[in-house]
Chain length 381, copies 2
């Protein structure tokens, strides 16, 4: 079995799918691992560090894609890359199948067996493969560093000879993986933290991190399959905004993390709410590339509006490529374990709920119902 | 008595000398406070917030400078501003008297009574006026945020489903005010911290913040007047570099803070040491504007060299203008208390060691011996 680490082609993508430390373990299992020359460079892993652990560096891109049994990538996978894959080969990457179902269709036409890391089920057994979570954790951490570096104030309370500095007030909206890590990081830095989530059951987690939970009582069910937050009705959104307005106005920093898979992100912070914030306040919008949770967000930019800086970062995990690649590689290697026998032979067991859930195309067919729905393809069963 | 808050003219200076909260207290004491229109804008203090506390907003710069008894500024004061001052008036600002003694000469020729915030004695009584310390504290804090945001890794140790993340190793060179705050902030963020200082007596302070002290035994006296570090002999510098090389190589982040007043900063991190650092490591050089503690530093730039990012920030306090201005204003107001009687009348008591120490020009004369030395002016006593 040959596993190839392909080079990311997007300008802003600094991650690499497999780091030398993890590749070494596969090599020890008798698996042949190839890396495209320079693939790890932007994540500070030189070709030499791969070679040292027995990975073969391949200069010719076409050869690597054509001869590999499994191609590993991070994302975003582009349509131009589909034809590089050999029919019958396996691709594992972030494929954004609900946002870009057209790509999945192309992969199925190419008769590639494609695994989408976004589709790993959210079960305890699959936790070690949950790349959405491992990357969201990085984004949550980094969002707070950006907020603290942008805020014209200190985060911690400080007692100095020139008087006492009051701690910054941070409001985190959405207490998923990114939100919880944002809370933890803001607390580490000494801020006073509040958090809000439409799912009341995360209250305890929020409180255990030392943050106050902002209660917004809603009359509808707010939890979707897999523990994600559901999209709210207009009435519930309106009520939520009303409750949150005062909390936003009192905050020095607002970090928003609300995303609905495959859809435009919900607006949590309106421009009207921004006008009521303190001069110098900061919003970091982790949903910027999905349209943003704040009405003033521009993806990839820092916007100064009404005295408030709204930061709309794109792909924060890529800005921490060493650890982002390391945890992603560990996610991949856990998934690969399900595919390889102890003799290093490839087997795909579709009875396994993880293989079944994450595999979006196989034998020329789109396997995921949600992707089919996104494509508007009629169900044929 | 009329006190004027002048607008900073340097492009990168976002601070303002007096914030509304502190100005309000002076107004209550019966002092007339003026602010140049727009002076607080870049620190997020609008003219309206000054007016609300009884400060008069002055649109005409010439009037403000000519009619004020005391002009307050942050820095860097420029020669072009000298002539705006009325003869016999008082100026309080960072004047960089040892680095730019020519400016002090100009101020003396203009017969201005100039107080330089750098010259506040380092005594317990003067602590509340010690603006060098209050601003260095901001720089130390911010240096760690920059380092953490630049590092391609996490700072804290994290236990995740995708494995354990090892904490970042941070080495802080120079354990003055900036260094100690850098240590504290890096510790807050969960890094493992080592610190080095040529003054062995700071060891306990370093350890009390949870950092390890790197011992470099030197045979010469290392502490100068005022508790600052002394410039070392070439032999001692060489020995220090040898001991530090291994510590630098093992670090993910190195923060350097060594400055000698009025002189070029000492080189602590040579290019040779940088080549031995890990790929992706980060150096933040707080002495960048004094030539840098690292041989690879370029002031005002991020340099990627030998796989290491060397950040050479200029004027970090200005990047946190709300709190930087707030603590500076408190420093100024403590100093102003020594100059004003309870009736709001101006008196200068040169018997007071703070007034004596901080006043660099008065009645057409340069008062500070160190400034005279810097100018090469012969002593006339």
């Amino acid at each position: 079995m040959k596993i190839a680490i392909a080079k990311e082609i997007q300008v802003d993508e600094r991650r690499v799918a497999l780091v030398p430390e993890v590749a070494a373990k596969l090599v020890k299992q008798g698996i042949e691992v190839w890396v495209e020359a320079g693939a790890g460079e932007r994540a500070f892993f030189s070709d030499a560090t791969y070679e040292e652990v027995g990975v073969k560096v391949i200069g010719d891109t076409a050869t690597l894609w054509r001869d590999a049994d499994i191609v590993l990538k991070v994302g975003n996978f582009e349509e131009s890359e589909v034809d590089k894959l050999r029919e019958g080969s396996i691709l594992i990457a972030f494929l954004n199948p609900l946002g870009d179902p057209g790509l999945v269709q192309k992969l199925s036409e190419r008769k590639v067996t494609a695994f989408s890391m976004e589709m790993i089920p959210r079960t305890s057994r699959a936790q070690s493969m949950d790349a959405l979570s491992s990357q969201a954790n990085l984004a949550g951490y980094k969002s707070v560093l950006i907020a603290a570096a942008t805020l014209p104030k200190y985060f911690p309370m400080l007692t100095t000879a020139a008087g006492t500095i009051r701690p910054a007030k941070v409001l985190v909206m959405g207490a998923g993986v990114a939100g919880l890590q944002a809370i933890a990081t803001a607390r580490r830095l000494g801020a006073v933290v509040e958090a809000f989530d439409i799912r009341p059951e995360v209250k305890e987690q929020v409180q255990s991190l030392g943050a106050k939970f902002v209660d917004v009582t809603l009359e509808e069910d707010t939890v979707a399959e897999g523990g994600y937050a559901k999209e709210l009705s207009e009435k519930a959104k309106q009520h939520t905004r009303e409750v949150l307005t005062a909390h936003v106005a009192a905050s020095d920093v607002v970090i928003t993390t609300a995303q609905v898979p495959g859809r435009k992100a919900p607006i949590l912070v309106t421009e009207e709410m921004v006008t009521q914030m303190k001069p110098g306040a900061v919003v970091v919008d982790l949903a910027a590339s999905q349209g943003g949770n704040c009405e003033c967000t521009e993806a990839g930019k820092d916007v100064l509006k009404h005295g408030v800086t709204i930061v709309g970062p794109i792909n924060l995990p890529s800005s921490m490529p060493v650890h982002a690649s390391e945890v992603y590689a560990k996610n991949l290697s856990a998934l690969l374990k399900l595919m390889a026998t102890t003799e290093g032979e490839l087997t795909l067991n579709f009875e396994d709920d993880i293989i079944d859930g994450a595999c979006v195309t196989h034998n020329g067919e789109i396997r995921s119902q949600r992707v089919k729905d996104a494509l508007g393809v009629a169900v044929t069963q």
